[in-house]
Amino acid sequence: MTDLMISLRRSPRTLLERDGHPGPGPGKLGLVMARAGVGKTAVLTGIGVDAMLSGQKVLHVSIERTIDKIREWYDEKLVEMLKHNKKLDHLGPLQLTMERNRHIHTFVGQSFSLERIRHTLDLLRDAMEFVPAVIILDRTEYTELNPDSIAELKAMAAEIGAEIWMACRTHRDGPPAAPGHLPPPADTFEGEVDVAFSLVPQDAKVRLHVIKDQDEMVDKDLNILLDPQTLLLVTGVAAKK
């Protein structure tokens, strides 16, 4: 991993770095919560780029989206990070590194199932020797994941040493979170959630709350701001300190 790659990291995932591990760790589930349209997918893509900049392999699973669209988001995110650091001339080689360390798998026509995810992981390992360290599950609101299937998913990820990131859409007019719990609908499977962020639009920025970390409810406003265009930390790695 080069110094350049480290210097580019600006995803909220960098806030979780501890004991030399770049994310929450194998078998753990990270959750990004927000209302529709705030930027959950953008945060998930940023987490994917962050993992690759940390030298990890990423499996990005999406529902009803095209591969081209998802690649475009990753490329945009990388361009933004390079522009921010005035290193745009490194785009070509870094794009290539990203492509070699990322696999996008999309399910269309209601073909998503846990069994298919397991099948995909097996195929990637056997046919391509591709074993992801981070699995991103985008648009899970279009699936029928429940607490049991989420537990199964975590077990599946733990077997290969991968962490999972998912998004969860909260509702503006929905009931508020009960004290000490995640807001609905995440409260139904909160026992499985190891890390949870929520995104709250505020003026021209998006405010990031850490709601759960290391299995503990935190619910602290650490005064962390995200750029509303990119959903990356406004001031990069320095912002977390």
Partner: protein, 696 residues
């Protein structure tokens, strides 16, 4: 010909091979009374479909070159460009898209959105072509237009909405429910030419109402008037059509029509849809450049009274000489007019102006802005602009990819040699992606193009159309060389031993350019090299790029900067500075860490899900970078970037590995550095060839 431009439609029909687009075009020609009998592709009657007008196309059952035809429907004038289905002929598709205002995307009701549709759709997006979809072959077993409509959304990212429902499917496919007018349409008579309207069948009433509501929801996003009317339950078919049209023109809505061209069902409503929803020439902005104003952008107006501007998008060798297909963008082109060919500044007189119907033609007197016509008797290339006296207008040129594969061709005798020359001269004028060069060292004629099939077709055409019997060498990949870091040079070229001498000194550096193009920068201050010798330095560097020192392929992406130098009052000359620059480049090149670039193709493989692992492996074995995969109802698609050098024979291997059930398409993606072991192999081979030649 009506002068009402708003009633002109210039459309393309694009699809995956075997989706039935040629059959569909044939039916359109029949219903618009351009032909009086229906022929099939690979016709049993030995006639073949009218739009597949070349012998080779008829034999292979595929459409290789675009043919234009003009039809009239519901008081509208429709120019149809039939476009090729194989991706090796991408330039044909690109050429069509340049002159089209809209397109019909034909999809198979059984196979759905296939790999070629994805490639063609990507190209249409690039040219911002509004489109409607026609789900064909609804009479086939397994037909499911609803699933295809979902696939349009899921696989192509369209906002697709059904405007019709099928009445029956497969063998029971009888007609369609029109969700705008809310009525049934049946196609009676021997050839489906009698349209019969009726009540929606009772068993479809509930579904039709539900789909009608969905259509209103989707369309009202593009019309406040429709939204209000829908809320008050007074939406009219006119309001719905206006809203759908607005959605199509903004590229944000794709209405879906259904039918079976082969069974003569659904074609006429699709033609109505072309007139209702696809743009007319006034809906599309026309960008051009004014060469008199240093290439400043100008917007043309489709005004029949304006300065005439027309664009040659296709050449064809007919029995009366070269036929040039033109789109008139502005003004009116009349028989007997004189126009100026912008590139050559030559005056051209329009002798014969024709409207094309596949391989038949009709003489006309004039063509107005927006129309597509053919003219005879002019010598030009594809992409040339013709304009009446006035500003020197040039249409912006189409995207032309560089060839990625080459073949040597040897005529078998002197007669074949003459015929081959004629054929090659013709093909290079017709097709900008087909190039010819004479290799100075081997004295071989080298043809280059976009893929194996592309070159194969031209070799066949040489034999059939020009009686040029040729033998071909093995296909060669078009590698490139590029430098990877800055390297300084300081070179003195000095020969002053008796007689007129040579003296030139150049100092500067070469470095990788940011855009991959060659760039020459003169930073000489104080006249250290006299201004008259600077172009010779540029020429010297440029000449060095033709053949790189690594494996003899062209060098790309060099920025040559001249910072200093010296000259001699008597012995300096253009020749001396050219030589000095060439030698300086040779020296600097070695130190600039040159590397070999190889063409990489974007490959999409599609097949039953059980072969997904086989597909992954097949791509990995060919040094592919798998970009992603898609699962859809038991089928899988895998997208990858694969070096062209590894793709020879892939078709056979894929077929055998998947029991013939998977297929693939590929198009050029980029040039990328070749890995070390590949580079070493190429270097070894090149050195061995060079030493063999030296020994000989």
């Amino acid at each position: 010909m009506s002068s009402d431009i708003q009633k002109i439609r210039n459309i393309g029909i694009s699809a995956h091979i075997d989706s039935g687009k040629t059959t569909l075009t044939e039916r359109i020609l029949f219903y618009t009374q351009r032909i009086h009998a229906i022929h099939d592709v690979k016709g049993k009657d030995g006639v073949g479909a009218t739009m597949d007008h070349m012998e080779l196309e008829r034999e292979r059952g595929i459409t290789i070159t675009s043919a234009a035809t003009h039809v009239e429907w519901s008081d509208h004038h429709i120019n149809i460009i039939d476009t090729p289905g194989h991706v090796d002929f991408t330039i044909e598709v690109e050429r069509s898209l340049q002159v089209l205002d809209g397109a019909v995307l034909v999809l198979c009701a059984v196979a759905g959105v296939q790999s070629q549709s994805i490639t063609v759709d990507r190209q249409m997006k690039r040219y911002k072509v509004p489109r409607i979809a026609f789900v064909n072959k609804c009479d086939r077993s397994g037909a499911n237009p609803q699933r295809v409509t979902r696939a349009l959304c899921d696989k192509l990212g369209h906002n697709a909405v059904l405007l019709q429902l099928p009445i029956g499917l497969e063998a029971n496919f009888e007609g369609v429910v029109d969700l705008v007018e809310m009525r049934a349409i049946y196609f009676r008579g021997d050839n489906g030419e009698q349209i019969e309207y009726g009540e929606i069948p009772a068993e479809l009433q509930a579904e039709a109402e539900e789909r009608h509501a969905e259509l209103l929801d989707a369309a009202s996003m593009f019309s406040d008037e429709l939204m209000e009317a829908a809320l008050e339950e007074r939406a009219t078919p006119e309001l719905i059509r206006e809203a759908v049209r607005a959605g199509v023109l903004s590229l944000e809505l794709t209405p879906v029509f259904i039918g079976s061209a082969y069974k003569n069902k659904g074609v006429q409503p699709m033609m109505d849809a072309v007139t209702h929803y696809l743009p007319n020439p006034t809906d599309v902005p026309i960008e051009a450049i004014d060469l008199d104003q240093d290439g400043a952008a100008v917007e043309l107006q489709p005004d029949p009274e304006g300065q005439t501007v027309a664009y040659a998008f296709k050449l064809d060798e007919g029995r009366y000489g070269q036929l040039t297909f033109l789109r008139v963008y502005q003004g009116t082109m009349r028989k007997g007019d004189t126009v100026i060919q912008t590139r050559t500044r030559k005056k051209i007189k329009i002798g014969r102006l024709v409207r094309m119907h596949a391989d038949k033609m009709e003489d006309i007197e004039a063509a107005v802005a927006g129309d597509i016509v053919g003219i005879f008797g002019i010598d030009c290339h594809t992409g040339d602009t013709f304009a009446a006296a006035g500003p020197r207008i040039n249409m912006t040129s189409m995207y032309v990819p560089d060839p990625v594969i080459s073949l040597s061709v040897h005529p078998v005798d002197s007669k074949a040699q003459d015929n081959m020359s004629k054929a090659l001269s013709r093909f290079t004028k017709e097709d900008p992606t087909f190039r010819v060069k004479l290799d100075a060292e081997s004295n071989e004629t080298i043809i280059s193009g976009m893929g194996e099939l592309h070159l194969d077709v031209y070799v066949e055409r040489m034999k059939r159309e020009y009686a040029a019997e040729v033998e071909t060498g093995a296909p060669q990949v078009a590698y490139r060389e590029a430098i990877s870091r800055r390297s300084d040079f300081d070179y003195l070229h000095k020969k002053q031993t008796g007689g007129s001498g040579q003296y030139a000194k150049v100092v500067g550096y070469i470095e990788p350019s940011t855009d991959g193009e060659y760039e020459f920068v003169d930073e000489i201050r104080g006249g250290r090299i006299p201004t008259e010798y600077i172009p010779a330095c540029d020429k010297g560097f440029r000449a060095s790029l033709d053949k790189g020192a690594l494996i003899g392929f062209p060098v790309v992406g060099v920025r040559a900067v001249l910072t200093d130098g010296n000259s001699h009052a008597v012995d300096s000359s253009d020749m001396a500075f050219m030589t000095a620059s060439r030698m300086a480049f040779r020296e600097a090149y070695k130190k600039a860490k040159p590397r070999i670039l190889e063409p990489v193709m974007r490959v999409s493989v599609e097949g039953p899900g059980e072969f997904q692992g086989t597909i992954y492996k097949s791509l990995m074995q060919r040094r592919g970078t798998v970009l992603g995969s898609t699962e859809d109802a038991g089928f899988a698609r895998v997208d990858a970037d694969v070096p062209l050098a590894e793709m020879f024979g892939y078709s056979t291997d894929l077929r055998s590995g998947t029991q013939g059930k998977a297929e693939f398409t590929m198009e050029f993606s980029k040039y990328a550095p070749a890995p070390r072991e590949v580079s070493e192999e190429l270097l070894k081979k090149y050195r061995s060839n060079v030493s063999d030649e030296e020994d000989a």
